[in-house]
Amino acid sequence: MALIDRKPSPASGDDGGMTYLQSMPRRVVTVYLPLAIFVIVLLFPFYWMTITAIKPNAEMTSYDTSSPFWVVHPTLQNIRYLLFETSYPGWLLNTTIISVAATVLSLIAAVLAAYAIERLRFSGSRQVGLAVFLAYLVPPSILFIPLSVMVFNLGLYDTPFALILTYPTFLVPFCTWLLMGYFRSIPFELEECALIDGASRWQVLTKIVLPLSVPGLISAGIFAFTLSWNEFIYALTFIQSSENKTVPVGVLTELVRSDVYEWGSLMAGALIGSLPVVILYSFFVEHYVSSMTGAVKE
């Protein structure tokens, strides 16, 4: 009976859950402590990256004089070296151009395909939808050797187009799958009304479906941009000259010299290279989480 008396009203039961059944000390041990450890472990590499990036070289290797977990004399020397004495700004520009181009290309193809599969419902659309999903499961690790042969024969080797044209192979299936879910959530009646009023399919797509699926387009765009920004194996294989490299490849192959590791500028390069996706993602984190879960639920 006591249990029922203390029960919260049904309205608040949704997020309050049954936590009232647990005592505070018990919650500290079973929830807050493990969660704190998770957060510390997951964030520590970022903290360490940042600290190293602003450490002077002398402090980097002398752990006896001061605690390595903190910086005594922060310096911008590593970042200055990175930005003015290496090709890093060029790599940032390359990565931005390639990621934006691949994202736009993939979004256009994905919107059209998702609309056709989900709403035009041509015969065999189910099978095509499944095939597009299976295409996402083909990993770059088994495609990079034949693709490098193709890229070379097409004369695209060592050009940005090699990456702009190959990134959509994993972006299009992903975006199509995500957008199919979004289009499904738009009531079909809206389209029927427009069709009865004499709109063409193209008008239905551009004037009704697309404006309603802006959140889906944003998340698909962010996903595609992040995936292209983070891509490594194609960029490593298809690009040779230093000035055409992307950030992940450039940092790893050009900043690491066999004799001396410039840990400070390496960490600065890793940090600055991560910032664009982190900033982008922090603006749209709610879209990101909900759409990722939405896409997986399919």
Partner: protein, 312 residues
């Protein structure tokens, strides 16, 4: 009469006929995706299988040599070591990612202050480029100035630096740890989404029936979460099995090939070594494992559907 009205009606233009016809319109809409995927995905996949049967090198189109590449690999102990490493890496990293990710998802599903902040922060390792976070791990695992060694020495747990990446067993454990670190957020956030679809009333009903915390988890949470666990882990296993970046940054397959995965070996032989045919054969050898993983989870899902009595 019918004939005359048909004559009076203007002939629809070509474009409007395309727009009316569902088949032609669908074809036009599907065209960019189909062309892209056929040219840059399906064709290379076939080309890769073909290359596996040739002795192609960089700069020289090979000739058909039958199963020679595969016969060579069959007797190659490094190849079998890479298969073993890949399986070890995939199985141990996936189990850890699943256990820790599920735990984190359950924690995040609790009624917490700053809920959305925690969710955003937890996703970070998954968002940043793998290569760049792997470089941070490289520095954390440094043989002389590792912060982990230093901290453990300060606590008096060890008396000399740990050789994280130089010793075969340590190197395996280190790359697995880095992979788990990167993979936990994906598993946790997708499972969290699954957890939130479970109605609270089921837990209340089970509690009234006298279920304890473990029983709630075992008989309510786990069965309802199984479909999403199957999908999440299929993806996780696929991406772990074909991992390349982390190993390439941290060890390049060393020490003495102890951390070579099939993908890194394929790159080393095919691109660095120039033996395209052999590299392609190693990549093709990954396909049966991938198909196995996909079929396993697919039939896992089928069984769930059948158990729940649902149709399609």
């Amino acid at each position: 009469m019918a004939v005359t009205t048909a004559d009076v009606q203007p002939r629809p233009s070509f474009l409007s006929r395309v727009a009316e016809s569902r088949g032609l319109l669908s074809f036009g809409f599907m065209l960019p995706t189909v062309v892209l995927l056929l040219v840059f995905l399906t064709y290379p996949l076939g080309l890769g299988v073909w290359l596996g049967f040739t002795d192609a090198r960089i700069g020289r189109p090979g000739v058909f040599i039958g199963l020679e590449n595969y016969e060579y690999l069959w007797d190659d102990s490094v190849f079998w070591l890479s298969v073993f490493n890949t399986l070890l890496y995939t199985v141990s990293a996936s189990i850890l990612k699943f256990a820790l990710g599920l735990w984190l998802a359950l924690l995040l599903n609790e009624n917490l202050p700053f809920k959305s902040f925690f969710r955003a922060v937890v996703l970070l390792p998954w968002v940043v480029p793998t290569v760049l976070s792997a470089i941070a791990f490289w520095w954390i695992y440094d043989s002389q100035f590792s912060i982990l060694s230093w901290a453990l020495m300060q606590m008096g747990l060890i008396d000399h630096n740990i050789n994280f990446l130089g010793d075969p067993q340590n190197a395996r454990a280190s790359v697995i740890a880095a992979n788990v670190w990167r993979g936990i957020p994906f598993v946790a956030i997708t499972l969290l989404a699954g957890l939130q679809t479970i109605p609270q009333s089921l837990y209340e009903a089970a509690t009234l029936d006298g279920a304890g915390r473990w029983q709630l988890f075992r008989y309510v949470t786990l069965p309802l979460l199984t479909p999403i666990i199957a999908i999440t882990m299929t993806f996780s296993v696929l991406f772990t099995f074909t991992d390349f970046q982390l190993i390439y940054v941290l060890t390049r397959g060393g020490p003495v090939n102890a951390t070579h995965l099939m993908a890194t070996l394929s790159f080393q032989r095919g691109i660095s070594g120039g033996q395209l045919g052999e590299g392609a054969a190693i990549a093709v050898a990954m396909i049966p494992f991938l198909l196995g993983a996909i079929l396993f989870s697919y039939f896992g899902l089928q069984r769930r559907r059948w158990q729940q009595g649902g149709g399609d």
